[in-house]
Subunit: 770 residues, 2 copies
């Protein structure tokens, strides 16, 4: 019996769901009851089984999607399609403290454009860093179309580390794309504008003075930062450059960038003329730009390229003369240009042509070598004849947009915008293999590592702009819709619809989850944005508040503080009106996920201080008053008690000799009661400790982390116990009682952690040590 | 055979999954193969079947969760746990244009505090509007703890309409909670501070001059706005007031607010004293505040309450004298105070006590009537004896926090923070029914409409702060984790883990999805923030750009423009440096989900213009230059061509007589070719139209909407066709060709819509008309 026949047999005999072992709690529902009640078909159930990830389970792939106009990067898992994170990139985001702490403000400030702080971005195309053409799980790059910029995200901590501003462009849709060893990050201009001139140039001079361009941003992998000093920009014709892809393997050293509006049409509605959409889509072909970045790099290194506005700039004439730039006609208003995994072909999808055009790199190179050109564009760039560059064209349907690759050789997928379909085809043979309808308006699509030299197959995501009737209505502004498609078989199968709640993801990249190994904590006292020890870090017991005034009477209050369950040190900050205040807070926790926040009334501050991080906030205490502050993260049972007061005194205020009146007074009896509780609590803790240590807890990483954390808390308990006993020895019952309570607070935290570790061991089936 | 026995029989015989009808595409996988490959147990499969929602399906409930420090409100579906929307509330968010267009900036400006624009919020507790104690699906309210404010979200369009600033408080965790007819929205202070004084008051005067409080914000349901003029605040003791709940049915007219730190401890780390956490948790009891809002309202209406800082303010002495305020001791550091659906009991969960305390409203009222007090607090507020107010106490476990109710009588669920469990119990009998372990650190929990007079049962969500090992690691800052629990049977069943990617939801409210009926478009030319026709709306063909200068030479350029697939009118905006520019853009679309965006280089603007909306952006053109703009939403195949240029001229610039040079020139042959294409396209469209109209498309709302939209596009095509023919008649081949192309563009849009409608009819099984 062959495999296929075996499968059909299994199918016919069906699957028996006993559920007996799962126990009585589950026996009240049978699968059939649930399916009937919820109206699920067998197909639905199979899709559910293909996408459901049980508690604690892991997704197979992790996606980095642009957040569109939210200015962020979205992270989600495949196949569960659960959202894991929005990384703050171009837009301030308070939960992460992004754009609120001094450290991340410095990153955003790198993105200032024409002297203005920008508080959003229009992100389009994330690119993952590569080594030898494969994802290396180190960095993600993302562009801002509205204000041409590129951001660098480090996958060590999923934080944005750098933003660079393109000095030439005034629009840049076509970024980010990387070369096979992340030597460069490609960013192409979109709407043409004067490159070297930021002032006014009338539109009448469009053909002469407006230009497109392509920047190769040099990336320093060691430092994890873009190096603008060694980056270069190629001047291009005033076409609307669009997406790019870098050559790989056979095409290594080259870049490919398409364009639309090679008609060079400029507006017209005000003059009674048709809009851009007609003027920019009238010709049957546009131009694929073929650029030789390897040779350009050599010219730069040889000192043959001049700098403009601080960056190496290669004018059109030089690019043409040095053989850095060629054009190939490509069908009507293309969007995607995608190099096949072997680097031998380039697939271009022209939105207004029903074909994808498969170009042969070998043929293009041959034409260049032989000087086989059909002429030049108006700016003197040689044009390779289309028929001499094409391998084949495949008729797919209406509105082809973007292409990704399967793990199977020669198999590609292209999104069809107008048809709202995904087409699967063999680009070697030029043969359509399958089509699947999706809902609605697919833009990009994405396969797993589908733009690398080794695509992983298995899944495809259709990034649909419109969701219309797919989801519960939530007002005139709908979510987007990402649809998950199983591509493991011959036929594509739609298995999940995911609404995207914030931002419009234009493109995405998916990587095997196992390749990502992010940190769960920072080294203690760390500036996460510069990846260095923070000069203003501090340690437990070394917290300080210092006020200094200069000769002109300008005063500064600097707080070097700490946060740990459940207190902020200092709990009282005193300053005088007009003071420049600098707050530096270090999270002393080592426990995974034990984040603290910091908010201060009236001052626009919310910090997110992950374990080990030092975060700062600077402001002028411009008004006298009482300003409560507190930890904004629900960090422990007494999280609400993690609070303090900033007191801003009037200038020259003299404190009267009023000492603090206690709200509640405690006696020796109170102390004795608390100590009794503590001793009882310790007995419980000892039992839990015995339970855990009698078992193989070392085999469970989360249990080990919980035990380490509990041990820390018990250490703090000991310190408080000692303070309590010292006070009691002096018959200072007020402090004795309060320190005894603090001792208990630490015990509660330790018990909490111990109980969690115990539950985890029970659930995971830990065994008793022999 | 009884029902239970029947079920067990079904269980034993199992479920046969034939999948025959689903066709060959699905036959390659059997369910068993998939389960084996993915390591799913039968329990997992059952959970998958309980939560999976197939494409186009609907969730049963919609959740509104606080977005924590993101400052937003999160919307998601149950049981699929898919995120549907982040509503911009206290934090600017560019995708929605929130805080970027003039209209929403005006909403955020209402939230200015102490003269400062605030660009975030720390949202905690959403409340849905109620009528007769049940959700009426009209409004959502949410508080900002950091800067005491309340926001109003209208569920007609899921937009934030209003923000009000509390004039007295400097911290307010305990909001929003509504009275049974949304007469008032309750907001309690948290960290005590001087109420009437915004200046400096030394902490030494804490007991005398710092105070807590409780504001009852009056809500005008007709207008959909809070009415600060008729709102009032009760002064309370300097305790940390926490959560509230309004009485209902038997307890209508009363409010209940708990508190912690009734020890009135103030800090101490700097003085070598224990931190707040010890000082604020040393007593065994704190105070439940019982307030009579109905009587307070009568006093206000009778003119017996004075205003302070523009709001009615009821000092402690007046509240005591008028019988508006009583205290009842409640166990140690409580968080949740929750009134049972019948209004007869109040359940208080004290974090540091293992019990929940069930208070009897009848007993409390009796004590008040009889003047049965055990004394007064230091501020003279009468204290009802705890034992005379209690119905019962139920021993649940460590760290009880918050309580919600089942549809079954007397059944409640309380979160146990330290135990990381949910406890199910009978609060009438005081009996524990079930416990379920969750992961990790549950804060609030939520049942479906679980804080109304008619809870819906079925599901419970555990809002867990820590996710630790539940999800794929994404760096030191983890997502939160919401766990879905099936409560339909006797035993609770954990069925889904949802990572929350942005912000820390503290509390949430779930409503039946069927009750929500939001709009999909606005009336044409609508200001969505004021809910009025926009004074600067315009219509197709009436777009204007006007420049006016005043006597001082200050000039204003005002653009009344439109957006529609795929052009922005105007496409060129000219201004002079220094001009005040006002852009007003109206979306002319009527089609669902057909949103356009607007971004302009260098100016910090991203608009989201949903169908019908008019959005504005004002700025000073402070630099000369060339500034591209474009539509940021992927709205059509030629979305990238939806572009334009703002040209800012130097002062006094005189245009030279250079006329526009065309990039590409067209001939009669080009025109004829285009017309031929258009006629062929029309033939395809006619076929699609015939296909659709031969079927019962009127029975499918989405198909009807698509057809209406396609008809609109064909109307536009006719207009372009006429312009094309007019130009051809004058042998103006340039314009003839371009208008013919524009005619085709509209045809493509119509065809796109028609094909989608056709596919939808095929999929949904539409039938041929008889």
């Amino acid at each position: 019996m062959n495999k296929r026949a075996q499968r059909l047999t299994t199918l016919a005999t069906g699957v028996v769901l006993g559920l007996g072992a799962a126990g009585a709690a589950w026996s009240e529902d049978t699968l059939k009851d649930v399916m009937d009640r919820r109206g699920l078909t067998e197909k639905d159930l199979l899709a559910a089984a293909k996408t459901y990830v049980p508690t604690g389970g892991r997704d197979e792939f992790v996606v980095f999607a642009s957040g569109g106009q939210s200015g962020q990067v979205i992270v989600y898992g495949i196949p569960s399609m659960r959202l894991l994170k929005y990384i703050g990139v171009f837009t301030p985001e308070p939960w992460q403290g992004y754009g609120f702490d001094d450290e991340s403000k410095a990153v955003l400030e790198q993105g200032r454009t024409r002297g203005k702080d920008l508080v959003y971005g229009d992100t389009h195309h994330p690119a993952m860093s590569e080594t030898d053409g494969a994802y290396d799980a180190k960095f993600v790059f993302i562009n801002d179309k509205a204000n041409p910029r590129i951001a660098v995200i480090d996958l060590h901590d999923f934080e944005t580390k750098q933003i660079v501003v393109n000095p030439f462009f005034k629009s840049a849709h076509g970024g980010a794309f990387v070369t096979p060893n992340t030597e460069y990050v490609m960013e192409a201009a979109q709407y043409a504008a004067p490159l070297l001139e930021d002032g006014f140039v009338p539109l009448e001079e469009f053909n002469d003075k407006y230009r497109g361009g392509l920047t190769y941003w040099s990336f320093n992998k060691e430092k994890g930062r873009i190096d603008p000093e060694n980056s270069f920009t190629l001047e291009l014709g005033p076409y609307s450059q669009d997406l790019s892809d870098a050559g790989k393997k056979d095409s290594y050293g080259w870049g490919f960038t398409n364009s639309f509006c090679t008609e060079r049409y400029v507006g017209g509605i005000e003059r009674g003329r048709p809009p851009f959409e007609a003027g920019c889509s009238s010709k049957d072909t546009d131009y694929l730009h073929v650029t030789n970045w390897k040779k350009a790099e050599e010219l730069v290194k040889a000192g043959k390229v001049k700098k403009e506005k601080g960056m190496y700039f290669i004018p059109l004439e030089q690019a043409i003369a040095e053989g850095l730039l060629y054009l190939v006609p490509e069908p009507k208003s293309p969007h995607g240009v995608d190099v096949t995994p072997d680097g031998k072909y380039i697939i271009v999808a022209g939105k207004l042509d029903s074909h994808v055009s498969v170009y042969s790199v070998e043929k293009i190179m041959k034409a260049i070598e032989e000087g086989n050109f059909e002429g030049k564009d108006p700016y003197g760039v040689p044009i390779i004849p289309m028929q001499d560059a094409l391998h084949t064209q495949v008729n797919l349907g209406l509105g082809p947009l973007h292409t990704q690759f399967d793990s199977k050789p020669c198999v590609a997928y292209t999104s069809l915008y107008v048809d709202s379909q995904v087409a699967k085809y063999d680009y070697c043979e030029g043969k359509v293999l399958d089509k699947l309808s999706i809902h609605y308006n697919i833009g990009h699509l994405m396969t797993m590592e589908g733009d690398t030299i080794n695509p992983q197959g298995k899944y495809l995501v259709a990034l649909n702009k419109l969701s219309i009737d797919r989801h519960q209505p939530v007002g005139p502004l709908h979510p987007q819709n990402h649809q998950l498609i199983d591509i493991s078989g011959d036929k594509m199968q739609l298995i999940y619809d995911m609404p995207l709640p914030l931002g419009e993801p234009h493109y995405a990249a998916a990587i095997r989850a196992e390749l990502l190994q992010p940190a769960v904590r920072y080294k203690s006292g760390w500036n996460s944005r510069t990846d260095e020890q923070h000069p203003n870090r501090t340690r437990a017991g070394r917290e300080t508040t210092e006020r200094t005034c200069d000769a002109d009477g300008k005063c500064t209050t600097r707080v070097m503080g700490t946060v740990i369950r459940s207190h902020i040190t200092p709990e009282i900050i005193e300053a005088e009106v007009g003071d420049q205040v600098h707050l530096h807070l270090t999270n002393l926790e080592r426990a995974q996920d034990q984040v603290h926040g910091f908010a201060l009334y009236g001052q626009n501050v919310n910090l997110s201080i992950e374990p080990g991080k030092t975060a700062s906030f600077s402001f002028v205490a411009d008004e006298e008053g009482v300003f409560p502050y507190y930890c904004t993260e629900f960090c422990s049972a007494l999280h609400l008690e993690m609070q303090g007061y900033l007191l801003v005194r009037p200038k020259g205020y003299q404190a009267t000799e009023v000492s603090m009146v206690e709200g509640t007074l405690y006696s020796q009896a109170d102390y004795d009661t608390q100590v009794k509780t503590n001793l009882e609590t310790q007995a419980v803790i000892d039992q839990v400790v015995a339970y855990i240590t009698a078992r193989n807890f070392q085999d469970f990483p989360t249990a080990v982390a919980l035990v380490e954390d509990a041990t820390d808390q018990l250490g703090f308990a000991q310190e408080s116990k000692k303070k309590s006993e010292d006070a009691a020895a002096k018959a200072d019952w007020q402090n004795a009682m309060l320190w005894a309570n603090q001792w208990w607070q630490y015990q509660v935290k330790a018990a909490d952690l111990g109980l969690r570790a115990k539950n985890l061991l029970d659930e995971e089936g830990a065994t008793v040590n022999k």
